[in-house]
């Protein structure tokens, strides 16, 4: 029997960390598909924070990243291929506006106060949104309501 694989071209296994990360995000996409799509956008915006929760609940997240995240989540809302992606995109775009207002006192959306409050209340009531993000939005809601 001849050697079926030339050892000089035989691919080496990937590093443990690479394999772990890959399996972890694949599993997350199976367990929580909508949250996973939101996290993938968050990773694109800020790989060091990596998830929507980390990006949106860290008071030190730069405002520019929140602006970018809002734009990309907004695009997921309008162009996402699945309905749960579109819903999560909508929720997280509002959450980005909430984080900008809560942590930086900046308005990064075109909502007026009443529209923003209504959107926040709707997102806070959505159990599909990660709990930490809903808590942050409640804090923004209280700040906005004065």
């Amino acid at each position: 029997m001849t050697n079926p694989v030339d050892p000089t071209t035989r691919p080496e296994p990937f590093q443990d960390g690479s394999l772990r990360d890959t399996l972890a995000w694949v599993l997350r996409s199976l367990d929580q598909p909508a949250v996973a799509s939101g996290d993938w956008i968050a990773y694109e915006v800020d790989a060091s924070r990596g998830t929507a929760v980390a990006l949106l609940t860290d008071p030190t997240t730069p405002l520019a990243r929140l602006r970018r995240a809002r734009i990309l989540w907004g695009a997921l809302r309008s162009e996402g291929e699945r309905s749960e992606d579109r819903t999560m995109g909508s929720r997280l775009a509002i959450a980005a506006a909430a984080a900008a207002y809560l942590f930086h006192s900046e308005r990064i959306s075109n909502h007026d106060d009443s529209a923003l409050l209504a959107a926040l209340r709707s997102a806070v009531a959505d159990d599909a949104v990660p709990a930490e993000v809903r808590i942050m939005m409640q804090m923004a809601e209280r700040k906005l309501a004065g």
Binding site: M1, N3, P4, V5, D6, P7, T9, R10, P11, E12, P13, F14, D16, S18, L19, R20, D21, T22, L23, A24, W25, V26, L27, S29, L30, P33, A36, S37, W40, I41, E44, R68, I71, L72, G74, A75, L76, E79, G80, E81, D85
Partner: protein, 260 residues
């Protein structure tokens, strides 16, 4: 039109491109290989598909490279093909990974016993595998190193398979841009540590006009990769999605050292 970059992932030398190129349009049932069809169909395919994992176990058990390759060849000829281990895959007897691992471990034990018997009773004309001073040791069943090496190689194989299948599907469906964005922005940085290109450079390369075209492509392609990986895993366990998900969880646990 931008040129499609060459496939730069580490290319498995063994995967037959025709098997993946046979994928038709996404969603066309008659053109997409099922989980069972993704399993090796010939002994040659099987030999090359599982070579890395078998070799990794044997090499990590203390054998030198040359001897490990010989033993890998011997195992494939005598056990994988000779005893029709692959046939058990078709019988859906649970995880093929654990079956294969157990078979390799037993094979090394058999080799050890055979070599030591041959040393005690030379002259029976049979070949002694390692009589040249190599490290012929009985596999240490307490040592995690050979099994860890086996699992790393196994998961790497699954990821390469998923990557190859996805690439073939994208190219067959004129989704070159989507593949390039995913490969260059996600796959190569994650697996090889390559620096990811900026959104702006990807937009320029593919004449895109909005950042969201890149980000939404990445969401779609990540999901497609996940589906290919699940399909590949399903080929090694029972065919239910729950079976594949359970196997993925177990593989992750093994990598994280949460399982013996």
């Amino acid at each position: 039109m931008p040129r499609v970059p060459n496939h730069q992932m580490t290319e498995p030398s063994h995967e037959s491109s025709e098997s993946h190129d046979s994928h038709g349009a996404h969603g066309a049932p008659d053109a997409v290989r099922t989980e069972r069809e993704m399993a090796p169909r010939t002994s040659d395919e099987a030999a090359v598909r599982y070579w890395g994992s078998i070799y990794a176990y044997i090499r990590q058990s203390g054998r030198r490279d040359e001897e490990a390759r010989e033993l890998t060849q011997g195992f494939i000829a005598d056990v994988l093909l000779g005893r029709n281990l692959l046939g058990r895959l078709d019988e859906k007897r649970g995880q093929f990974r654990t079956l294969l691992l157990s078979a390799v471990r037993n094979y090394l034990a058999d080799v050890y016993r055979f070599n030591h018997a041959a040393r005690r009773h030379p002259g029976d004309g049979r070949i002694v595998h390692s009589d040249d001073g190599s490290n012929d040791t009985l596999p240490d069943r307490q040592s995690p190193a050979p099994e860890s090496a086996f699992h790393r190689a196994w998961i790497s194989m699954l990821i390469r398979d998923a990557s190859d299948a996805m690439r073939a599907e994208c190219i067959a469906n004129q989704r070159d841009m989507q593949w390039d964005v995913f490969e260059s922005r996600i796959l190569r940085p994650m697996l090889e540590g390559a620096p990811p290109p900026s959104y702006e450079s990807l937009m320029a390369r593919w004449n895109l006009t909005a950042l969201s075209q890149v980000s939404n492509t990445i969401v779609s392609m990540r999901r497609l990769f996940a589906s290919h990986l699940v399909r590949g895993v399903s080929a090694t366990v029972d065919t239910s999605p729950a079976g594949a998900r359970g196997e993925l969880r177990e593989l992750l646990s093994l990598l994280e050292g949460r399982m013996p």
